[in-house]
């Protein structure tokens, strides 16, 4: 007894110290990462994210150090991932939907002004390239340039160029009294300041200014664009047109023409109005919407039917080698869908595809180019991708149906078909209905299965946008929001929200229906 007691105590202690140590180490690693992140955020001035991360990290620490928050210990990791990967994305989509974030509107206003002024500078025609030496006096930077005739000129932001006596090396002025010559490595340490340095060529503004982009040569620039910070206007000095900020996210002339780049602003419900009134999309919208419903419904129904059929077949205990067959059945599910869809697209090629060339002996069936056949093709491909999942789910559900129920029905004289239709199927539907609903929602937005097989084609050339016969709503939106060089993220986000609302309503309705089904049983 004397020897066993301390051993038992130490065992007890050990079992509580292990997890505690683990907890401390894990929290320590997490907190170290958080501190690093917080410091990074602070130096970048992202105070909002800083606050969110800080509060989140404190909450996580409290949960795991407190004795009271037992349930929270289990759900916190899930909640954190939910917040980062779902809630944040959704909120950000909402935010973008109310902005004009699109091509020409990706900057802030200050950045747009900077970009416009920088783009408007042009080199004075036939002006020489000046070798430049950057010199410093106190805080002030200046250019020591060598004129083509060999004279040295010195000038800074306040002081226009004037001739000075300088020391020359190989015909280039390299030093002047009272100023420190900067080496290239020293220039790099203050390159922002240097890049923005504009030295007036003379007292006359018309002559322009000198700038150096690489710290080695300077060029003479003029600009025909002037920014007036007081009036917040840009003036084109060549045409005397005044561009002002009229709350449209770009400097706008009185005649309505805009100067791009503009900047990002809040546009309220504009994107939603455009989503329903955009003339290019209104035309094809109806038939695309119909096809989207047909596609999503048929994808689910066909895959479920085939999966169930296979499941019943392989559920028969008399069948030999069921496990091998089942593994083969699940193979399409194991390949990356990306790869499968692209291989299918190649196999369906009219002249060189495996299906026409080898299987059908050189038949030229336009699988992807005929409007109707293309629809059939995308459904077949999606069936191939989708049925193994349904097979797995229904196999599980079938095996969960109690044998006694089936036996009882058989004893009562029910035929196998009656057993299936009146007993097995309703029981199956109860357990698989949520999966069917979410499959529908998934296929409603199954962009890849459409885009990688047909790209939405064949194209309907009667429409004003390149919409095709197999386009579903999400691929149509992609084509509208991201055509050519235009990237309209605001419009795309608004569409996403509209689609989300459609799917959410359908799903909510169907879930209620399912509830009723459950009650009946």
């Amino acid at each position: 007894m004397d020897t066993t007691t301390p051993t038992r105590a130490s065992v007890l202690r050990g079992s509580s110290i292990g997890p505690l140590l683990l907890k401390i180490v894990m929290l320590g690693i997490l907190d170290a990462a958080v501190v690093f992140l917080l410091m990074t955020l602070l130096t970048r001035g992202s105070y909002a994210i800083f606050g969110v991360v800080l509060v989140g990290a404190l909450a996580v620490n409290w949960v795991y150090l407190s004795k009271r928050a037992m349930p929270a210990k289990y759900i916190t990791p899930g909640l954190v991932f939910l917040a980062v990967f779902q809630v944040f994305t959704i909120l950000y989509t909402f935010y973008i939907a109310f902005t004009n974030y699109s091509t020409g509107h990706v900057l802030t206003k200050d950045q747009a002004i900077e970009a416009l002024l920088s783009q408007s500078q042009s080199r004075v025609p036939d002006s020489p390239q000046y070798p430049v030496t950057v010199v410093q006096q106190g805080d002030q930077l200046a250019f020591l340039v060598t004129e083509p005739d060999g004279t040295a000129m010195l000038g800074s932001a306040e002081q226009p160029l004037e001739q000075v006596d300088a020391t020359f090396t190989d015909g280039k002025a390299t030093a002047v009294d009272g100023w420190t010559t900067l080496q290239f490595t020293e220039i790099l340490a203050m390159q922002d300041e240097l890049f923005d340095l504009a030295v007036p060529v003379s007292d006359t503004a018309m002559d322009g200014w000198l700038r150096t982009l690489d710290g080695r040569s300077a060029f003479q620039y003029i600009s025909d664009l002037e920014y007036d910070p007081q009036a917040d206007t840009l003036t084109n000095t060549a045409t005397d047109v005044v561009y002002s900020d009229t709350s449209l996210g770009a400097f706008t002339a009185p005649d309505g023409s805009q100067m791009l780049p503009g900047w990002q602003i809040n546009v309220g419900l504009d994107n939603f109005t455009r989503a329903v009134s955009e003339p290019t999309i209104r035309g094809p919208l109806v038939y695309v919407l119909i096809w989207t419903f047909v596609y999503a419904t048929l994808s689910v129904v066909l895959a479920f039917a085939l999966g169930l059929f296979m499941a019943i077949l392989f559920n028969n205990p008399k069948m030999k080698g069921r496990k091998v067959y089942r593994i083969i059945m699940v193979l399409p599910y194991a390949f990356p869908a990306f790869l499968s869809t692209m291989i299918w697209s190649g196999m369906l090629n009219t002249r060189f595809g495996f299906i026409n060339e080898t299987l059908l002996g050189g038949a030229e069936i336009p699988w992807l180019t005929d409007p109707t056949l293309a629809k059939v093709s995308v459904l077949i491909v999606n069936l191939w991708l989708g049925f193994p999942y349904m097979f797995l789910v229904t196999t599980g559900a079938l095996q969960a149906i109690p044998e006694e129920v089936v036996e009882a029905a058989t004893t009562d004289g029910a035929s196998p078909w009656q057993v299936f239709r009146l007993i097995k199927l309703p029981l199956l539907l109860v357990s698989t209905a949520p999966i069917l609903i979410s499959s529908f929602a998934f296929n409603f937005n199954n962009f890849n299965a459409i885009y990688l097989v047909t790209e939405g084609g064949p194209v309907d050339r009667s429409a004003a946008i390149p919409v095709g016969h197999t386009d579903i709503l999400i691929s149509l939106v992609y084509k509208v929001a991201f055509t050519g060089q235009n990237r309209d993220y605001g419009l795309a986000s608004a569409f996403s929200i509209i689609i989300f609302v459609i799917i959410a309503s359908i799903s909510a309705y169907m879930f209620r229906k399912t509830k009723m089904l459950e009650d009946i049983n």
Binding site: T40, Q129, T185, F195, Y389, S438, S439
Partner: protein
């Protein structure tokens, strides 16, 4: 249905991008510290340039970047990116502080990059004259140079010398010779269901129908849409489609696989496909694209180069790296040797052509003599939107005149609406 798998995949992707984001933010947080370093710091830590380029060329630039660091003390961090999403990623991240200092791209990005205000003008100064004219044309947008060009690419006619020893002078002659060779496909040019106007452009210009007219300074004029003059080209397309010499079944993959297996006599493609064909044991020769109409066949020239981020904090270093380093003959040669795209610097291009014993590079240069830069004006987006599908439709039997007329009016409508 693939839901569970899909959501896991999505989760993994989001997680990865989260990691990438944090990686980006940490690297960018280093940059200001570096550039704000006191002047007393030693030469080895004078800053880091971050350069984005497509995965394929990342290795090629690495050696060049190492040499630059040895010479100046500026370290260059090469980040290989997915070529398909690089432009959009750059536009979204350029002003956020986590974008690169320099990005590699093509000249037809220029319209979009300047409209978004994310690229800074460059100044080539006296060195501008050292580049091929097409390279400078392509690098210039609205009178300002924004890109340091490093290669000029164009498509040309490849042939399998074992099947067809001679270069054709006209399109019809090519088809006749190709058929006589007994090859499964006498002539291949990649199309696919959506068409491929880029590869067909030389034939279109041989019928005297460029997309846009040019103004006095040689820039494309968006107000002068000359696409509508292509009805002769459209009829030719329809005829070739009916005869089977052009087919939308020839996807890029199929064209390459069939040529490399020796089943194609002539193949209209770019230099990027040559090395694989040579490796497959095909005896390749290159010649200019034969004219299908009455005028010279002028393909598009694609100019590749480097842009400086308008919001970079290392613009002096970036300009120095591009103008004074990438723009030198040695570096352009080094880039050529590792990526085998013809250099944009005249001296380097001449050296490459002179040293070329296979005739392949000089063949592409010869074919590019009449090449025209692909228009970078934003209105070109409205053209791309419809162009390919219309050509594909005509090849597949749609009425040439009516369909082409609709293309012209659709494009004009889209240009007017934007």
């Amino acid at each position: 249905m693939m839901m569970t798998k899909k959501s896991i995949l999505a989760g993994v992707m989001v997680a990865t991008s989260g990691l990438l984001l944090s990686a980006c933010s940490s690297s960018s947080s280093d940059e200001p510290t570096n550039s704000a370093a006191p002047t007393t710091s030693d030469a080895a830590s004078t800053g880091t340039l971050t350069v984005w380029l497509d995965d394929v060329r990342a290795d090629a630039l690495q050696t060049v970047a190492d040499d630059y660091e040895a010479a100046t003390g500026i370290s260059v961090e090469i980040v290989g990116r997915d070529a398909g999403t690089m432009k959009d990623d750059f536009i979204q991240q350029a002003n956020s502080g986590s974008g690169p200092d320099v990005v590699m791209g093509a000249h037809d990005w220029l319209g979009e990059l300047t409209t978004n205000g994310v690229v800074a003008p460059l100044e080539l100064g006296d060195t501008a004259g050292n580049y091929l004219t097409a390279a400078i044309d392509g690098a210039t947008y609205d009178g300002t140079v924004y890109m340091l060009p490093y290669s000029v690419e164009n498509v040309a006619l490849l042939r399998n010398v074992d099947l067809v020893p001679d270069a054709p002078s006209t399109f019809d002659e090519m088809i006749t010779m190709g058929q006589a060779s007994g090859a499964e496909i006498p002539f291949a040019v990649q199309q696919g269901e959506g068409g491929d106007p880029y590869h067909l452009y030389a034939f279109q210009t041989s019928f005297g129908a460029p997309v846009f007219g040019r103004d006095d300074s040689g820039s494309y004029d968006p107000a002068n849409l000359t696409l509508g003059e292509g009805s002769a080209f459209a009829e030719w397309l329809g005829a070739q489609g009916a005869a089977g010499t052009l087919s939308t079944d020839i996807t890029p993959d199929i064209a390459q696989a069939k040529f490399n297996s020796g089943d194609v006599a002539y193949w209209l493609t770019g230099p990027w496909n040559v090395s694989a064909a040579v490796e497959a044991g095909i005896n390749v020769a290159v010649s200019p694209i034969p004219s299908a109409g009455t005028e010279t066949a002028a393909p598009f020239a694609g100019i590749k180069g480097f842009f400086v981020n308008q919001y970079s904090e290392n613009k002096v270093a970036a300009n120095d790296f591009l103008v004074n380093y990438i723009g030198t003959e040695d570096v352009q040669m080094a880039l050529y040797e590792s990526s085998s795209t013809p250099p944009a610097l005249t001296a380097a291009a001449d050296a490459v052509a002179a040293a070329d014993t296979t005739g392949i590079v000089s063949g592409f240069v010869e074919a590019g003599k009449d090449a025209v830069p692909m228009p970078a004006i934003p209105q070109m987006g409205s053209v791309w939107q419809f162009w390919g599908t219309v050509e594909a439709a005509i090849i597949n039997g749609a009425d040439p005149d009516a369909t082409w007329a609709q293309l012209t009016s659709d494009v004009q409508g889209a240009i007017d609406a934007s």
